[in-house]
Protein backbone atom coordinates (compact mmCIF):
# COMPACT_ATOMS: atom_id res chain seq x y z
CA UNK A 1 0.00 0.00 0.00
CA UNK A 2 1.10 3.58 -0.63
CA UNK A 3 1.14 6.52 1.77
CA UNK A 4 -1.36 9.38 1.67
CA UNK A 5 1.66 11.72 1.47
CA UNK A 6 2.38 11.97 -2.29
CA UNK A 7 1.48 8.27 -2.74
CA UNK A 8 4.99 7.38 -1.54
CA UNK A 9 6.04 3.76 -1.19
CA UNK A 10 6.73 3.26 2.55
CA UNK A 11 10.04 1.84 3.79
CA UNK A 12 10.01 -1.88 4.48
CA UNK A 13 8.74 -2.57 8.01
CA UNK A 14 11.99 -4.28 9.03
CA UNK A 15 14.11 -1.28 8.00
CA UNK A 16 11.65 1.10 9.70
CA UNK A 17 11.72 -0.92 12.93
CA UNK A 18 15.52 -1.10 12.98
CA UNK A 19 15.79 2.67 12.47
CA UNK A 20 13.31 3.36 15.29
CA UNK A 21 15.17 0.96 17.59
CA UNK A 22 18.51 2.66 16.81
CA UNK A 23 17.05 6.14 17.46
CA UNK A 24 15.58 4.89 20.77
CA UNK A 25 18.97 3.54 21.85
CA UNK A 26 20.82 6.70 20.75
CA UNK A 27 18.38 8.83 22.75
CA UNK A 28 19.31 6.82 25.84
CA UNK A 29 23.03 6.38 25.14
CA UNK A 30 23.72 9.97 24.06
CA UNK A 31 20.93 11.90 25.78
CA UNK A 32 20.18 9.72 28.85
CA UNK A 33 16.42 9.85 28.17
CA UNK A 34 13.86 7.09 27.80
CA UNK A 35 11.82 7.46 24.64
CA UNK A 36 8.33 8.78 25.27
CA UNK A 37 6.21 11.33 23.47
CA UNK A 38 2.91 11.67 25.34
CA UNK A 39 4.37 13.52 28.33
CA UNK A 40 5.27 16.14 25.72
CA UNK A 41 1.59 17.17 25.71
CA UNK A 42 2.01 17.99 29.39
CA UNK A 43 5.27 19.82 28.68
CA UNK A 44 3.35 21.96 26.19
CA UNK A 45 0.42 22.46 28.61
CA UNK A 46 2.86 23.53 31.33
CA UNK A 47 3.91 26.53 29.23
CA UNK A 48 0.46 27.96 29.94
CA UNK A 49 -0.97 26.09 32.95
CA UNK A 50 0.80 26.72 36.23
CA UNK A 51 -1.12 24.29 38.49
CA UNK A 52 0.63 21.85 40.82
CA UNK A 53 0.17 18.97 38.36
CA UNK A 54 1.99 20.80 35.58
CA UNK A 55 4.76 21.93 37.93
CA UNK A 56 5.77 18.39 38.89
CA UNK A 57 9.51 17.83 38.65
CA UNK A 58 8.97 15.29 35.85
CA UNK A 59 7.52 18.08 33.73
CA UNK A 60 9.78 20.98 34.66
CA UNK A 61 12.81 18.69 34.50
CA UNK A 62 12.07 17.37 31.01
CA UNK A 63 11.28 20.63 29.17
CA UNK A 64 14.89 20.99 28.05
CA UNK A 65 14.92 17.75 26.07
CA UNK A 66 11.28 17.08 25.17
CA UNK A 67 10.48 20.44 23.62
CA UNK A 68 13.34 20.26 21.08
CA UNK A 69 12.51 16.58 20.47
CA UNK A 70 8.87 17.45 19.71
CA UNK A 71 9.99 20.30 17.45
CA UNK A 72 12.14 17.73 15.65
CA UNK A 73 9.10 15.52 15.00
CA UNK A 74 7.41 18.42 13.22
CA UNK A 75 10.62 19.23 11.33
CA UNK A 76 11.13 15.59 10.35
CA UNK A 77 7.61 15.43 8.89
CA UNK A 78 8.21 18.70 7.06
CA UNK A 79 11.52 17.54 5.56
CA UNK A 80 9.98 14.22 4.57
CA UNK A 81 7.22 15.99 2.63
CA UNK A 82 9.46 18.71 1.21
CA UNK A 83 12.04 16.28 -0.20
CA UNK A 84 9.63 13.64 -1.46
CA UNK A 85 9.34 15.02 -4.98
CA UNK A 86 5.86 16.39 -4.48
CA UNK A 87 7.09 19.27 -2.35
CA UNK A 88 5.53 20.69 0.83
CA UNK A 89 2.00 22.02 0.67
CA UNK A 90 -0.82 21.91 3.23
CA UNK A 91 -3.57 19.39 2.38
CA UNK A 92 -6.70 17.68 3.71
CA UNK A 93 -6.48 14.23 2.00
CA UNK A 94 -7.34 11.40 4.38
CA UNK A 95 -7.22 8.23 2.25
CA UNK A 96 -9.77 5.58 3.17
CA UNK A 97 -11.61 8.06 5.42
CA UNK A 98 -12.43 10.18 2.36
CA UNK A 99 -13.78 7.14 0.50
CA UNK A 100 -15.83 5.64 3.36
CA UNK A 101 -16.88 8.59 5.54
CA UNK A 102 -16.09 11.65 3.45
CA UNK A 103 -16.39 14.65 5.77
CA UNK A 104 -15.16 18.07 4.65
CA UNK A 105 -12.41 20.09 6.36
CA UNK A 106 -14.60 21.31 9.25
CA UNK A 107 -15.95 17.81 9.85
CA UNK A 108 -12.43 16.36 9.80
CA UNK A 109 -11.26 18.90 12.37
CA UNK A 110 -14.14 17.98 14.70
CA UNK A 111 -13.54 14.24 14.16
CA UNK A 112 -9.81 14.64 14.85
CA UNK A 113 -10.45 16.87 17.86
CA UNK A 114 -12.71 14.21 19.42
CA UNK A 115 -10.09 11.52 18.84
CA UNK A 116 -7.36 13.84 20.07
CA UNK A 117 -9.17 14.35 23.38
CA UNK A 118 -9.11 10.58 23.94
CA UNK A 119 -5.41 10.46 22.98
CA UNK A 120 -4.37 13.25 25.35
CA UNK A 121 -6.51 12.08 28.27
CA UNK A 122 -5.92 8.35 27.69
CA UNK A 123 -2.15 8.41 27.21
CA UNK A 124 -1.66 10.51 30.32
CA UNK A 125 -3.86 8.21 32.38
CA UNK A 126 -2.00 5.20 30.94
CA UNK A 127 1.37 6.81 31.66
CA UNK A 128 2.62 6.43 28.11
CA UNK A 129 1.82 5.76 24.47
CA UNK A 130 3.10 3.68 21.57
CA UNK A 131 6.66 4.93 22.07
CA UNK A 132 6.99 5.00 25.86
CA UNK A 133 4.97 1.85 26.61
CA UNK A 134 4.85 0.02 23.26
CA UNK A 135 8.51 0.30 22.31
CA UNK A 136 10.64 1.35 25.29
CA UNK A 137 8.54 -0.15 28.09
CA UNK A 138 8.06 -3.53 26.40
CA UNK A 139 11.75 -3.64 25.39
CA UNK A 140 12.53 -3.01 29.08
CA UNK A 141 10.16 -5.86 30.05
CA UNK A 142 7.89 -3.63 32.16
CA UNK A 143 4.57 -5.24 33.06
CA UNK A 144 2.69 -1.90 33.07
CA UNK A 145 3.80 -1.36 29.48
CA UNK A 146 2.83 -4.81 28.26
CA UNK A 147 -0.65 -4.44 29.79
CA UNK A 148 -1.15 -0.91 28.49
CA UNK A 149 0.00 -1.82 24.96
CA UNK A 150 -2.33 -4.83 24.82
CA UNK A 151 -5.15 -2.53 25.96
CA UNK A 152 -4.59 0.21 23.37
CA UNK A 153 -4.01 -2.14 20.45
CA UNK A 154 -7.11 -4.19 21.35
CA UNK A 155 -9.22 -1.03 21.73
CA UNK A 156 -7.97 0.25 18.37
CA UNK A 157 -8.87 -3.04 16.68
CA UNK A 158 -12.41 -2.92 18.11
CA UNK A 159 -12.87 0.79 17.26
CA UNK A 160 -11.62 0.56 13.66
CA UNK A 161 -13.74 -2.53 13.02
CA UNK A 162 -16.78 -0.68 14.39
CA UNK A 163 -16.03 2.37 12.22
CA UNK A 164 -15.22 0.57 8.95
CA UNK A 165 -16.95 -2.82 9.13
CA UNK A 166 -20.11 -1.82 11.03
CA UNK A 167 -20.61 1.97 10.79
CA UNK A 168 -19.37 2.72 7.26
CA UNK A 169 -20.19 -0.72 5.78
Amino acid sequence: MTLILHQLQPYHWALSGVLIGVITLLLLWLGNQRLGISTGFENLCSLVLKTAYFRRSEITGSQAWRLPFLAGLVLGGFLSAATSGGGWAPFWDLGSFDRAIGLGPAGKLVWMFAGGLLIGFGTRMAGGCTSGHGIFGIANLERASVESTLAFVAAGIVASNLIYRVGAA
Binding site: L3, I4, P10, W13, A14, S16, G17, I20, G21, I23, T24, L25, L27, L30, I37, S38, F41, E42, L49, Y53, P68, F69, L73, V74, L75, G76, G77, L79, P90, F91, L109, M112, A114, G115, G116, L117, I119, G120, F121, T123, R124, M125, A126, G127, C129, T130, I135, N140, A144, E147, S148, A151, F152, A154, A155, G156, I157, A159, S160, Y164
Partner: protein, 149 residues
Amino acid sequence: MNTALFLALGTAFGWVLSRSGASDYDVVQAMFLFTSFQLYGIIGTAVLVTAPGLWLLKRRGRTAFGAPLAVKPKPRHPGNVVGGVLFGIGWSITGMCPGPILVNLGEGKLYALGALAGALLGAALFGALYERFPAWLRLPALRVGTGDG
Protein backbone atom coordinates in the same frame (compact mmCIF):
# COMPACT_ATOMS: atom_id res chain seq x y z
CA MET B 1 24.61 21.25 22.27
CA ASN B 2 22.03 19.13 24.05
CA THR B 3 19.20 21.04 22.43
CA ALA B 4 20.73 20.32 19.01
CA LEU B 5 21.09 16.61 19.87
CA PHE B 6 17.43 16.26 20.90
CA LEU B 7 16.27 18.30 17.91
CA ALA B 8 18.33 16.06 15.60
CA LEU B 9 17.06 12.81 17.16
CA GLY B 10 13.48 14.12 17.05
CA THR B 11 13.92 15.04 13.40
CA ALA B 12 15.29 11.59 12.55
CA PHE B 13 12.41 9.94 14.46
CA GLY B 14 9.89 12.20 12.71
CA TRP B 15 11.36 11.34 9.31
CA VAL B 16 11.12 7.60 9.96
CA LEU B 17 7.57 7.87 11.33
CA SER B 18 6.65 9.75 8.15
CA ARG B 19 8.31 7.47 5.61
CA SER B 20 7.48 4.16 7.32
CA GLY B 21 3.72 4.71 7.32
CA ALA B 22 3.51 4.91 11.12
CA SER B 23 1.95 8.36 10.75
CA ASP B 24 -0.26 7.43 7.82
CA TYR B 25 -4.01 7.16 8.49
CA ASP B 26 -4.45 4.27 6.04
CA VAL B 27 -1.53 2.24 7.43
CA VAL B 28 -2.92 2.63 10.96
CA GLN B 29 -6.41 1.51 9.87
CA ALA B 30 -4.87 -1.43 7.97
CA MET B 31 -3.14 -2.50 11.19
CA PHE B 32 -6.36 -2.39 13.20
CA LEU B 33 -8.37 -4.06 10.38
CA PHE B 34 -5.69 -6.78 9.91
CA THR B 35 -5.24 -5.97 6.22
CA SER B 36 -1.54 -5.04 6.49
CA PHE B 37 1.35 -6.30 8.62
CA GLN B 38 3.37 -3.07 8.16
CA LEU B 39 2.83 -1.40 11.55
CA TYR B 40 2.92 -4.65 13.56
CA GLY B 41 6.23 -5.38 11.83
CA ILE B 42 7.59 -1.92 12.60
CA ILE B 43 6.70 -1.98 16.32
CA GLY B 44 7.80 -5.60 16.73
CA THR B 45 11.16 -5.00 15.03
CA ALA B 46 11.72 -1.80 17.03
CA VAL B 47 11.18 -3.77 20.25
CA LEU B 48 13.46 -6.59 19.10
CA VAL B 49 16.26 -4.10 18.32
CA THR B 50 15.75 -1.97 21.44
CA ALA B 51 15.54 -4.83 23.98
CA PRO B 52 19.08 -6.26 23.65
CA GLY B 53 20.61 -2.79 23.22
CA LEU B 54 18.84 -1.56 26.31
CA TRP B 55 19.99 -4.60 28.27
CA LEU B 56 23.60 -3.92 27.27
CA LEU B 57 23.37 -0.20 28.04
CA LYS B 58 21.87 -0.89 31.47
CA ARG B 59 24.58 -3.47 32.17
CA ARG B 60 27.21 -0.89 31.24
CA GLY B 61 25.32 1.65 33.36
CA ARG B 62 26.84 4.72 31.71
CA THR B 63 25.90 7.03 28.85
CA ALA B 64 28.34 7.79 26.02
CA PHE B 65 29.53 10.77 28.10
CA GLY B 66 30.05 8.76 31.30
CA ALA B 67 26.96 9.89 33.22
CA PRO B 68 25.05 7.25 35.25
CA LEU B 69 22.30 5.82 33.07
CA ALA B 70 18.79 6.77 34.22
CA VAL B 71 16.09 4.25 33.24
CA LYS B 72 13.15 4.63 35.60
CA PRO B 73 10.46 1.95 35.10
CA LYS B 74 6.90 3.21 34.84
CA PRO B 75 4.55 2.70 37.81
CA ARG B 76 1.92 -0.05 37.36
CA HIS B 77 -1.71 0.85 38.12
CA PRO B 78 -5.19 0.20 36.67
CA GLY B 79 -4.86 3.48 34.74
CA ASN B 80 -2.38 1.73 32.41
CA VAL B 81 -5.25 -0.35 31.01
CA VAL B 82 -8.16 2.10 31.40
CA GLY B 83 -6.17 4.96 29.88
CA GLY B 84 -4.80 2.55 27.26
CA VAL B 85 -8.34 1.69 26.11
CA LEU B 86 -9.24 5.39 25.80
CA PHE B 87 -6.02 6.06 23.89
CA GLY B 88 -6.59 3.08 21.57
CA ILE B 89 -10.01 4.43 20.57
CA GLY B 90 -8.44 7.83 19.91
CA TRP B 91 -5.64 6.21 17.86
CA SER B 92 -8.27 4.48 15.72
CA ILE B 93 -10.43 7.60 15.27
CA THR B 94 -7.54 9.85 14.23
CA GLY B 95 -5.11 7.31 12.77
CA MET B 96 -2.46 8.99 14.89
CA CYS B 97 -0.66 8.25 18.11
CA PRO B 98 1.12 11.14 19.89
CA GLY B 99 4.33 11.33 17.82
CA PRO B 100 2.55 11.13 14.46
CA ILE B 101 0.20 14.02 15.42
CA LEU B 102 3.28 16.26 15.26
CA VAL B 103 4.75 14.48 12.23
CA ASN B 104 1.47 14.87 10.32
CA LEU B 105 1.45 18.59 11.17
CA GLY B 106 4.94 18.89 9.73
CA GLU B 107 3.90 17.01 6.59
CA GLY B 108 1.19 19.61 6.03
CA LYS B 109 -1.88 17.52 6.96
CA LEU B 110 -4.18 20.26 8.21
CA TYR B 111 -6.59 17.94 10.05
CA ALA B 112 -3.74 17.12 12.47
CA LEU B 113 -4.39 20.57 13.98
CA GLY B 114 -7.69 19.20 15.31
CA ALA B 115 -5.94 16.18 16.82
CA LEU B 116 -3.27 18.35 18.45
CA ALA B 117 -5.84 20.72 19.94
CA GLY B 118 -7.79 17.74 21.29
CA ALA B 119 -4.71 16.04 22.72
CA LEU B 120 -3.56 19.19 24.51
CA LEU B 121 -7.03 19.78 25.96
CA GLY B 122 -7.26 16.09 26.93
CA ALA B 123 -3.93 16.26 28.76
CA ALA B 124 -4.96 19.52 30.45
CA LEU B 125 -8.26 17.97 31.59
CA PHE B 126 -6.45 14.92 32.91
CA GLY B 127 -4.09 17.12 34.91
CA ALA B 128 -6.96 19.22 36.28
CA LEU B 129 -8.87 16.12 37.41
CA TYR B 130 -5.85 14.22 38.73
CA GLU B 131 -6.81 14.27 42.40
CA ARG B 132 -10.50 13.59 41.75
CA PHE B 133 -10.23 10.19 40.06
CA PRO B 134 -11.93 7.24 41.80
CA ALA B 135 -9.80 5.32 44.29
CA TRP B 136 -9.96 2.04 42.31
CA LEU B 137 -7.76 3.54 39.61
CA ARG B 138 -5.00 3.70 42.26
CA LEU B 139 -3.14 6.44 40.38
CA PRO B 140 0.23 7.28 41.99
CA ALA B 141 0.63 10.43 44.10
CA LEU B 142 0.49 13.66 42.10
CA ARG B 143 4.19 14.40 42.46
CA VAL B 144 4.95 10.93 41.00
CA GLY B 145 2.42 10.94 38.16
CA THR B 146 1.17 8.01 36.08
CA GLY B 147 4.46 7.38 34.32
CA ASP B 148 6.40 9.64 32.02
CA GLY B 149 7.05 8.92 28.42
